[in-house]
Symmetry: C2
Subunit: 595 residues, 2 copies
């Protein structure tokens, strides 16, 4: 039995019955695919995740990372798994076939990541970063860079990283100080980076770093940042390895979780020459990097969602098995399994609704992303771009914070056992915590949502999102089973739209007060999205159940989780909106000395 638990019925319900994901095969690039090939990939991903990745966690517990003389040694099983992951086509499942990718829709990367991150969060960041880095070169690099690097990274022969953060440039990348000095067809890179996931390891013979640096003489701030490809080992033009580039690992972090994933501090060109290749346009590095960053933000949501799902199902397995205490209503003699205790069921229902709703949010956004990329130019394409741009910060922050909360609740179901390493939940709790902190903290996500995302394309992002919710409410306002909840969604949405408009004005007139409530505003948008997705699933289930005579427990569950979530969550959403609209200025006005 594996630690990673997932209900494939839930997964396919969203993919097929809610989203009809096979519709992606109608897009030109995916004409060769069909529903069966997509289904097969989902099932195979679960198989691989459980068979190959899940066992890595316990191996990592017993053989922690070793750092000596600038080198990181991982357990041998990690190296084997990384090779197999690439060889079986998982690394580049959605990559360009011209470079060895499998050409699946981007959405499949999200579904695959649900399985792979769920089975081993620490491991899966390695191939996931590798793909993201390779895709960046593929999107913006010259043909020769693409030829040299992309296929080797797609196949998992080499790995990749994303090097942004420096000690004094974390959230504020404009402050970064790593330099690039032109030298013939390449640059010499000089500087230090920290918090580089898989920045050093022994899984592959080469590591390809995607590095943000400032070309000598470039403008200050974010307008002077360029993107470079910096291999750990230099590569000859025929693709063979030449000799070491000066990329030195000066240490790895000791972290709360993710003990099996090295987080490295790197120095480029500290002792010797470190060669890098410009990728894309000069001074456009930050814009280019945002392709990878947005992918990483959505992957944070995937991680939060999948660890929530597996934590929930581990808790469920426990409470179905653990006998303790009498039935409070005396429905049976003797001691009962604790799933019969209502307070345990309260936790289960919240976890179920939350994990399921987050999966639907994430899949829906992934579906939109393919449409935004694959549709021919026109208003529909722009609409989907608006939707995915709007959803990205909501997904990243809401699913990371809520995923953590689900792991906490799952632990609670196990009592003291939940605190022990014998069960995977305490590891999930520690691993998932990073998601709210990296790829832009959740506070920064909230400022992106309520700031930039409210302004770009003349407010088109919010408008597109609003049309989705309002349209859903209009369609289902007379639904025989769910009309009360649909009405509650509609009225809460109305209040949130006004709140968002008021905050958009406030951003200019009173930016301090605005910035003091962007986070509760983001949570309100998250609640609303969850309520919408859960009601949408419930509408489908309720209609099916009506045809079947309501005998299906699975469908009942979809309806119960939606009515309960909406009725008990949206009043809190209203409270959050109240916080945003409140006039009090305590956060802004309180003197620093008073803290």
């Amino acid at each position: 039995m594996t630690d990673f638990k997932i209900d494939t019925r839930d997964v396919f319900y969203i993919l097929k019955e809610q989203l009809n994901y096979a519709a992606l095969c109608d897009l030109a690039p995916f004409a060769d695919l069909n529903e069966k090939t997509l289904d097969l990939m989902v099932n195979e991903a679960i198989h691989f995740a459980k068979g190959v990745l899940d066992p890595l966690n316990r191996i990592a517990e017993e053989t922690p990372l070793a750092f000596t003389n600038g080198e990181v040694r991982c357990p041998a099983e990690f190296k084997e798994a990384f090779w197999q992951y690439g060889n079986d086509g998982w690394t580049a499942a959605v990559g360009d076939p011209a470079y060895g990718g499998q050409g699946f829709p981007l959405m499949m990367r999200i579904v695959i990541n649900e399985m792979m991150y769920g089975a081993c969060q620490a491991f899966n960041s390695a191939p996931s970063l590798t793909f993201g880095a390779a895709r960046l070169i593929h999107s913006f690099g010259s043909e020769s860079l693409k030829q040299l690097f992309v296929s080797k990274m797609f196949s998992g022969t080499w790995s990749g990283t994303m090097c942004l953060t420096e000690p004094a440039a974390g959230s504020n990348l404009g402050a970064l100080e790593t330099m690039a000095y032109p030298e013939g067809d390449h640059f010499r890179i000089k500087g230090s980076k920290i918090f580089i996931s898989w920045g050093e390891h022994d899984l592959t013979e080469n590591i390809i770093h995607l590095v943000l640096a400032r070309i000598d003489g470039a403008p200050a701030g974010t307008a002077g940042i360029s993107l470079f490809v910096v291999p750990k080992i230099r590569v000859n033009t025929d693709g063979t390895l030449s000799g070491p580039n000066d990329v030195a690992c000066t240490g790895i972090e000791h972290k709360c979780g993710l003990h099996a994933a090295p987080t490295a501090a790197l120095t480029f060109g500290g002792r010797d020459d470190c060669i890098g290749y410009l990728c894309g346009e000069k001074n456009k590095g930050l814009a280019h990097m945002f392709q990878m960053m947005n992918g990483a933000r959505i992957n944070s949501a995937v991680s939060g969602m999948t660890m929530a799902g597996s934590a929930y199902r581990n808790a469920l397995a426990y409470v179905q098995d653990r006998v303790q205490g009498r039935d409070i209503a005396g429905r049976s003699e003797g001691d009962v399994t604790i799933i019969h205790h209502p307070d345990v069921r309260r936790m289960l229902l919240w976890m179920k609704a939350t994990a399921d709703g987050m999966r639907s949010m994430v899949y829906t956004a992934a579906f939109w992303e393919d449409l935004s990329k694959g549709l021919p130019p026109g208003p529909e394409k722009i609409r989907y771009q608006n939707l995915i741009d709007f959803m990205t910060p909501i997904l990243k922050a809401y699913c990371s914070d809520t995923g953590f909360r689900v792991c906490e609740t799952a632990m609670q179901c196990l009592g003291g056992y939940g605190y022990c390493r014998d069960y995977p939940i305490e590891r999930y709790l520690r691993d998932v915590k990073i998601m709210s902190l990296y790829e832009g903290t959740n506070g920064i996500q909230s400022m992106d949502l309520m700031g930039r995302k409210m302004l770009i394309r003349d407010g088109g992002c919010l408008k597109a999102f609003q049309e989705e919710i309002d349209g859903f409410c209009a369609t289902h306002r007379n639904h025989p089973v769910l009309k009360n909840q649909v009405a509650q969604l509609a009225s809460t949405a109305g209040e949130l739209w006004s709140c968002a408009m008021e905050m958009r004005t406030q951003m200019k007139t009173d930016p301090l007060q605005w910035a003091s409530t962007t986070y509760p505003a983001l949570l309100a948008f998250g609640d609303l999205t969850m309520a919408w997705r859960l009601l949408d699933m419930a509408v489908i289930a309720s209609d099916r159940a009506a045809k079947n005579g309501r005998k299906n427990d699975f469908f009942k569950g979809k309806v119960y989780q939606a009515t309960w979530f909406v009725d008990t969550t949206l009043p809190h959403t209203i409270a959050r909106i109240g916080t945003c609209l409140r006039q009090g200025r305590e956060i802004v006005d309180i003197p620093d000395n008073a803290f």
Copy 2:
């Protein structure tokens, strides 16, 4: 600089200006004490905590516990600290002077524990359990048991434990199977216990286990449980050690946190004879044990509160120092410390209000406890007993859950650095998690609050609590600065009282539905208590500030945290009450198969 951070101004503000804790010296047993002696003890506790306990955490990181051949080896510094803790009088600060205690009010144990748990959670559970176990013998044991054990435990020569849980008897102690067979003046104990904090270690030459077991032939369930004193090494009547008793440690847990505190599985009488002494009345063991259990529940609240406080102040120190990004309102040139970013201030203000409010809740309850014990018999004594009985489950659950949330928020203030071991916050987060799980899970606390505590003494507990809140609101309803918030407290309280009455009826008529909402009801009581304590502090501060011309930042902070907390939290409290009163039965009705 120590990891443990505390603002003594905050501590003394509650002790002196809010509670006037020196009033305890008017109680007969404390006639020899005065405000100065109490103040001195608080300051000395901080000094000891920072000087002796705080450094233990990092030592423990480097020298983890070793378990070999049934023995646990701790770092040598722990042994030294345990001895010094006892020798300096901390273990028995509130113990009976006739047995070497210092005779301080019980409240001082809470204040001391704030400092000691805050400095080293893992360590302080050892002397804290030792005192609790010794106090149990002192309260219920025969004179000879008291002579043999109490002084040696008060002085820290021997340590103590609390042995309740068995593999099949966690939350349901009625199921416990450890047996006691009469044999002359003692019993032979046979059985196994798990999750025994400090159940095995090398800090002291003897460990005195307080064990729940069933005397051969005793009634089933909780009515047949007795309490026994079971030393690890047998003790001669003159107090010298004789030879080993058969108490075997079969393993220690690998936990999410508290790595330096051994959590042992123990087998009594598995190979040889294990002798134990009856403590108190036959079959009254569970009732006796509840003295220690209630103390442990309040200590869980102390832990949650103190780790929240130190996490907050660590985050504060970081954001005052960390430079990143521009001022959003352009109030200054160049990059600023991140305390200037409103979203960071939002987190700070929430943590400040929460940590401060929890401290006030906990101290207030501790103050009540001394009054309930120290006052002469009469209605006032009963009133305080009602208050402390009512507050115990609220404190335990609310402060453990909220303390965890504060540690999470503190980590968020540090971004990626918060995830690293270089800062203590990730350790606080892992350590504090246990508080919601042990000493009765938080779900069980909520059933105790909304069940037993609503019924005992004819509903006197709720009535006493209600009088406190209603009285406060009546007194301050025209307060010039805080009247709006007082009105909000009054109206929220009114709704909660009706809700509690309705749930009291529902407990009988529909126990399943009742049990599905006891937890949100407990949180509502917690919110209300917090709002009340914060407003009470703010009233005092506001009145002082009015006299001083409002120039004091400290007083301003007390007012700002209260108005902001009340306005942004009580709407969520109303939402929780709505959840409790809602008619929907999804939690009860959802089929098990639908999870």
